[in-house]
Amino acid sequence: MKKISIFLLSLIPLVANASNDVTQLEGSFKVGPAIILIFILSLFILVGLLFRAKDTTDYYAAGRGISRVGSGMAIASNWMSAASFLGMAALMYGTGYHGLSYVVGWTGGYVLLLILMAGQIRRYGKYTAADFIGDRYYSKTLRTVGAVIAILISIAYAVGQFGGIGLMFKWVMGIEYNLAVIIGGSVVLAYTLISGMLGVTKNMQIQYVIIISSFIIPLFLLTYKFDYFWLLPQIGYGSAVQDIVEGIQISEKSGLMNSLGHHFAIVPSPEYAMPWDPSAGQTFFQWMAIAFSLMIGTAGLPHVIQRFYVVPKARDARWSVVWGLFFICLLYWSAPVYSALGTILSSNPEVGTLSPDAIVVYTAQLGDINPLIVGLLAAGGVSAAFSTTSGLLVAGSSAFAHDLYVKVINPMARPKTQMLVARLGTLLMAVIITIIAMVDLALIAQLVAIAFSMAGCTIFPLFLLGIWWSGSNRAGAKAGLIVGGIITLISLTYLVGARVGWVLPYNDFITYYLGAWYFAWIGAPLAIAANIIVSKLTDETPLEIRKFLIEKVHS
C-alpha cells in the first residue's frame, strides 16, 4: 500500500506539469491525459476483478440479477462506442443538421427493437444470432453463414473504433495516425486478452457512469464560459445554434475568445441548421435513407440483440430497452453541443482544417478548458472505444471458435483447443481491423454506419420474418440473404473503388443510391421481398417450428 502511495505521489508533479502540455491542438506527448487514460483502464480491470463471477451460473445470475436501471446502463455502455462519443459530434461539426439523421436513426432503432424484437427474442431462448438463425431456419448452412456475417459486422463495427482509438492515441502521444492505430490496436488487444485471462467481468454500469461523466462535465464548463444557459447545456446550446445561424459580431461577445486568441465570432451561417442545405452536400433522400438504414440496422446488430438473451424475463427485456435508450439519449442530446460550440470556436479560417473525428476534444481545447478535464474527455473517448472493441473482439472470436470451429470444422475439439482457436481468432481480427483502420476510409460514425447497413440487409430480415411470419422458411431465408449480400457487396465495392481510384460503371448513380452508409434503405426491403416470394413458392415451414412460434414466442 505504501509503495502504491509513493507511486501515486510521484505522479502529482507529472499531472501538474501536464497543464503546460496542452497549449496546442496537436503535437507533443501529453502526460496528464495519458495518466488519466491508464488510470481509467486500470480501474475497469480492477472493478471487474473485484466483482468477478465465480462460475458460469454466477455469471448469468449476476447478469440477470441487476435492476432494470442497471440493465439499461449496461445496454448504454455496450452501445456507447467511439462512434457515439467522438463520431456523432464529428458528423454535426460544420454541417449541423445533416448529422442529425444519425442521431434520429440510432435512437429510433430502439423503438423498433423494443416493439419487434426484445421480448420475442427473450422468449425464443437462443443465445447468439447464429443460434437463432440456425434453429429457426433449421439449417446448419444458414447457421454458419449467420456466424460469418456476425464476424464481418463485428469487424466493420470495430474498424471505426480502432480509428477513434488511433485518433485519441495520436492526440495523447503526439504521433502519426498510422502509428497511433498500431499502438492503440496493440493496447486494446492486450487489454482484451489480459481481461479474458484474468476472468474480468465487465462492470458496465460503472463504465457507463465514467464515460458519460467525462462527456458531460466539460459541457457545463464550456456553456458557462461562453455565456450560454449552463445548468442544462443540452437545451442551453440552442442559443449557440441560433448564433451560428444569425452570426456573432466580435463586439457582441468582446473578451470571449478561443485558446488560439481568435474572437468568439462567426459570420451568419444558416446552412448549419437548415435541413438538407445544398452546401452541406446532402439531400432529403440521403437524410431519410441514413435514418431508416440505421434504425433497421440497430434492430439487426448481433451484439445489441444478444443483450436481451441474458435478462430473466421478456418484461425485463422490454424495460431495459426503455432505460437503455434513455441513457443513450443522454449522450446524443449532448454530442451536438460540442459540434455547435466547436463550429463557433474554430470558425476562423486561420484555425485550419480540424479532424472532425477529434472535434469533441478540440472544442474543449479551443474553449480553454483545464487540460486535465480535456484529458479526462479524451480518456472517456478511448474507454468507450475500448469497452466496445473488447466486446466485439470477444464476440467475434467466440463466433469463430464456437459457431464455426466447434460446430462446423471440428466438433470433437477439446476445451483447450477451443480456447486457443478463440485467442487466435481475436489476434486475427485485431490484425485485420488495424489494417483496414489504417486506410482511413471515412469518418468513424460513417464506418460504423456500414456495419449497421450490413446488419439491416442481412440479419434484420431474418429476425423480423423469423419472429413475425411463420411462413418464412429455409429457402426464403437463403434467398433473402443472397439479395441482401449482393446489395452489400455492390455498395462496398464502389466504396473501396472510389478510395483506390477505380472507375466503375454507373459510378454516380450507384454511389448516390447505394451509398455505403445507407444501402440498407433498399437492401432490407428487397431481402424481405425475396424471402417472402421464395418462401411462398417452396415447402412450408415444419409444423414444430410454427407451433413453437405460436405457443412460446407469441403467446
Binding site: T95, V104, G108, Q249, G261, A273, W276, V321, P349
Partner: protein, 184 residues
C-alpha cells in the same frame, strides 16, 4: 461588371468575404473567392497604392509560414496594417469580423482574376447563400430554430416516451389478463 459602381464592388466583396467565413466552405471555393475579393478590392483601391498593399499581403503570407503561434506580434501587426488599408476601401468597419476575415483572405496579386474563377464565383455564391428556409426554420423555440429542436431534442424525448408507454401498456394488459411469465 462593365457598368459596376464603386458601391457595387464593395457589396460584392463584402458578400464574398461573408461566404469565405463560412465553416462549410470547400478549399477550392475559398481560393476562388479569395481571388475575387482581391480583384474587387483592386477596383476600389487607389491604383498607385496597390503595390504597397500587395507587398504587405505578401509579407503576411511569408510570416504565416514562419510563425509558431497565431498570436505572434509581428503577424498580428501586419494583419492590422492590412485591415487599416483595405477595410475602409471596401466599406468594412475595422473592428468587425469581416475585417479580420479580409486580412487573411487576400491574394498577393490583387488585380488578377483567373478566368476559371470568374466563371465559378456566381455558382459558389448561389451554393452557399441559398437555404431551405421556412416558418419551421425561422421560428425560435427554447433558443433553437424550431425544426432543429424537433430533430435534435424532441424526437429523442418522443422515442423514449413511446417506449415507456409501450412497456407500461403491455404490463397493464398482462396484469388484466393474468399473464405470468416463466423465468428460465
Amino acid at each position: 461588371m462593365g457598368n459596376a459602381t464603386h458601391s457595387d464592388y464593395q457589396a460584392i466583396a463584402q458578400s464574398m468575404i461573408q461566404v469565405m467565413g463560412k465553416i462549410t466552405i470547400k478549399p477550392d471555393d475559398y481560393a476562388a473567392l479569395k481571388d475575387g475579393t482581391g480583384w474587387a478590392l483592386s477596383k476600389v483601391y487607389p491604383e498607385d497604392e496597390l503595390p504597397d498593399l500587395e507587398q504587405v499581403v505578401r509579407h503576411l503570407h511569408e510570416l504565416r509560414g514562419q510563425i509558431t503561434s497565431l498570436r505572434d506580434d509581428e503577424y498580428l501587426e501586419t494583419k492590422e496594417l492590412i485591415i487599416s488599408k483595405a477595410a475602409p476601401a471596401l466599406g468594412i468597419g475595422e473592428g468587425t469580423l469581416l475585417a479580420q476575415l479580409l486580412a487573411i483572405g487576400l491574394d498577393e496579386n490583387l488585380q488578377l482574376l483567373a478566368e476559371e474563377n470568374k466563371e465559378k464565383i456566381p455558382g459558389i455564391m448561389s451554393l452557399y447563400l441559398t437555404h431551405n428556409r421556412s416558418f419551421l426554420t425561422d421560428t425560435v423555440f427554447l433558443g433553437f430554430p424550431f425544426h432543429y429542436f424537433y430533430s435534435a431534442v424532441f424526437l429523442l424525448v418522443f422515442f423514449v416516451g413511446l417506449c415507456w408507454i409501450y412497456c407500461y401498456r403491455t404490463d397493464k394488459l398482462h396484469a388484466r389478463l393474468n399473464f405470468l411469465e416463466q423465468i428460465d
